[in-house]
């Protein structure tokens, strides 16, 4: 990557009806994306998520769920730092989530996003919110961020939407 911004990356959100609100977030990796919310306890990407983006850790309560295209909400990842590679591989193969919302500054996940952006130009947005807002955002149907031009560490907004399921176009 040479620092140029690709505005075509990420989803476009067109909610019909329902309510929207914006939560203040710290941008940990710039990008743009929207998706149905999947709120889960911490998971190890290495060994816990397979190459198709499915949670395969049999001890994890969301085992069997797919993270592909979702707004993945989790306080932090856990386990091996090889999780960076697993996430990068998912992003590059089009099997990544649409966006990541965390409440702790997770360097393992962000390293994977930075590497994927370097080799593919695909920018997976990662935002950090307070623990309270993580719970709130995790309870909404849809989440979206648009922070393609925001520097890492600066503030942005996480949009939460509660609306009929068919009302989003990604």
């Amino acid at each position: 990557m040479d620092g140029e911004v690709d505005d075509d990356v990420g989803g476009e959100l067109r909610p019909v009806g329902g309510s929207t609100a914006a939560l203040t977030a710290r941008v940990l990796h710039p990008g743009k994306g929207a998706g149905r919310t999947l709120s889960i306890p911490p998971v190890s990407f290495w060994g816990g998520i397979d190459g198709e983006g499915r949670i395969v850790d049999v001890h994890h309560p969301a085992c069997g769920e797919s993270i592909v295209g979702r707004a993945l909400v989790l306080s932090t990842s856990k386990g091996s730092s090889s999780g960076s590679s697993v996430l990068a591989e998912l992003i590059v193969n089009g099997r990544g989530p649409a966006l990541l919302v965390v409440s702790e500054p997770d360097a393992v996940l962000v390293s994977g996003c930075l590497a994927a952006a370097e080799i593919s130009g695909i920018r997976l947005p990662v935002v950090q919110v307070t623990a309270e807002d993580l719970e709130r955002g995790g309870g909404s149907d849809l989440l979206a961020v648009d922070c393609v031009r925001t520097e890492i560490g600066a503030l942005g907004e996480l949009h939460e939407m509660s609306s009929p399921h068919e009302s989003i176009v990604c």
């Binding site: 960076s84 591989e89 590497a115 950090q128 307070t130 309270e132």
Partner: protein, 441 residues
């Protein structure tokens, strides 16, 4: 009352770091600095720290993106700015006939290692770089990956590294710097958990990995400090045979570096421990008060029942299971451990009936052959298979007809079942070799 989300503090770069980031020093430096400064902002660092050495783990194959990433660096002419070593890869380059996960993984894993070899690294291919002759001194800032190497460097050597992982490790090597955050900073090296082991009889060297396993469960990603080791003395770098006669307990003997290696590797596997202290043993902890306020730090008392439970949790096979093989050397065996295996085999006077596999570093394997030819011959004549460059728990096809493996490593016991689908019996090194000689049940 809601605490608002704050932006990261400003990250201040030196003029040289700015030049690296801007591309004035070439695209390889710019790419590396984009990664390092990006993670620095995530961690809230206000500056970078120059590092004196790097240990790279990204050379272990996890997917095509790992190859694409390092290929970009190689194409841009990247070279490491600081002395850099390489962790294990997916393939034993010295013995490529040992099968990796699949032919594709053998091919891709080899390609990845060869690409890393072009960055000006020392091709050590070991998870125990602290066993090499050159190692970080107390207080030096380094950027190491591989959880057991990180915890050893921080705890036993007193060097300062945060937990580095894929992509960031090689970028620290190329840029020569890392985010000044986490365990690079003194204030984050204080103990968060006191673990009192005074009720544990240290009967046998395998108690150290079991205590490490428990310490990881107790402290998670925190910093445990162990107190109550009976008359620990100070840690010894003494790498002779150490233990005295076979069957004698650890007793009041000082923990060796191999004991501390086993403790740290276990604690990093069962929890996420990147730094531990042991009162009177590790270099930052002459006494408890040096690393915590004992009145305000939670204390967990570990007793013999906890140690027995740890041993049970690391043993997945039934008591009467037939053992198919013995795997030693995770993390990579030291020269002292290789010599001890040879001495124990000689004491039995019989060849093992079970396959015995030992992982070690190239340097250590070469040192054994050159400096201790009798021990080298003992291992060779006994049919002991030495694996360098990788680890037996990364070679699943090695184990096609094994269902039960005995090991002296809590780390192997932790990862072996998931990686290989085998069941594990955790035991001391002596018990492992007794089993190997007597065979079967």
């Amino acid at each position: 009352m809601r605490l608002p989300m704050e932006p990261s503090p400003p990250l201040r770069l030196t003029a040289e770091q700015e030049a690296q980031l801007s591309g004035d020093c070439g695209e390889a430096q710019a790419m590396a600095m984009r990664m390092v400064t990006g993670v620095a902002r995530v961690k809230g660092a206000t500056r970078l720290v120059a590092v004196e050495s790097v240990h790279i783990d990204s050379c272990l194959f996890h997917g095509r993106s790992g190859i694409d990433f390092v290929q970009r660096l190689v194409d841009a002419g990247a070279q490491c700015r600081v002395p850099t070593t390489t962790n294990v890869g997916s393939v034993n380059l010295r013995h490529p006939e040992l099968p990796a996960r699949s032919p594709e993984e053998t091919r891709d894993g080899t390609e990845l290692m060869r690409l890393y070899g072009r960055l000006g690294v020392a091709q050590t291919w070991t998870c125990a770089p602290y066993q090499l002759p050159e190692r970080p001194r107390f207080g030096t800032q380094i950027a190491w990956a591989e959880s057991n190497a990180v915890v050893f460097a921080n705890s036993v050597l007193g060097a300062r590294t945060d937990r580095y992982g894929d992509f960031l490790d090689v970028c620290a090597a190329i840029s020569g710097c890392a985010p000044y955050a986490g365990l690079h900073r003194d204030e984050n090296r204080r103990a968060t958990h006191i673990i009192d082991v005074s009720a544990v009889p240290l009967a046998g060297e395998h108690v150290y990995p079991l205590l490490g396993y428990l310490a990881g469960q107790i402290a998670g990603t925190g910093v445990p400090v162990v107190t109550g080791l009976e008359d620990p003395g100070s840690v010894t770098g003494d790498q002779d045979l150490g233990r005295g006669t076979a069957g004698s307990g650890v007793g009041a003997m000082r923990p060796t570096e191999d004991d501390l290696k086993a403790f740290g590797a276990a604690a990093a596997s069962s929890g996420g421990v990147a730094l531990f202290h042991i009162e009177g043993v590790t270099p930052e902890c002459a006494e408890l008060e040096a690393v915590c306020d004992p009145e305000r730090t939670p204390v967990t008392v570990v007793g013999p029942a906890d140690v027995a439970r740890a041993q049970d949790e690391l043993t997945h096979a039934e008591a009467d299971a037939i053992v198919d093989a013995v795997c030693l050397g995770t993390p990579h065996a030291s020269l002292a451990q290789l010599r001890r295996i040879a001495a124990l085999l000689r004491s039995h006077g019989r060849e093992p009936r079970l396959p015995v596999w030992v992982n070690t570093g190239r340097f250590t394997a070469d040192a054994l052959a050159a400096d201790h030819p009798d021990d080298h011959a003992t291992l060779r004549d006994a049919g002991v298979r030495i694996v360098t460059d990788t680890c037996t728990y990364l070679l699943p096809r090695l184990h096609d007809d094994w269902s039960v493996v005995m090991t002296d490593s809590a780390k192997w016991a932790h990862y072996g079942p998931g990686n290989l689908g085998v069941r594990v019996v955790f035991a001391s090194l002596e018990q492992c070799l007794e089993q190997a000689v007597s065979g079967g049940r």
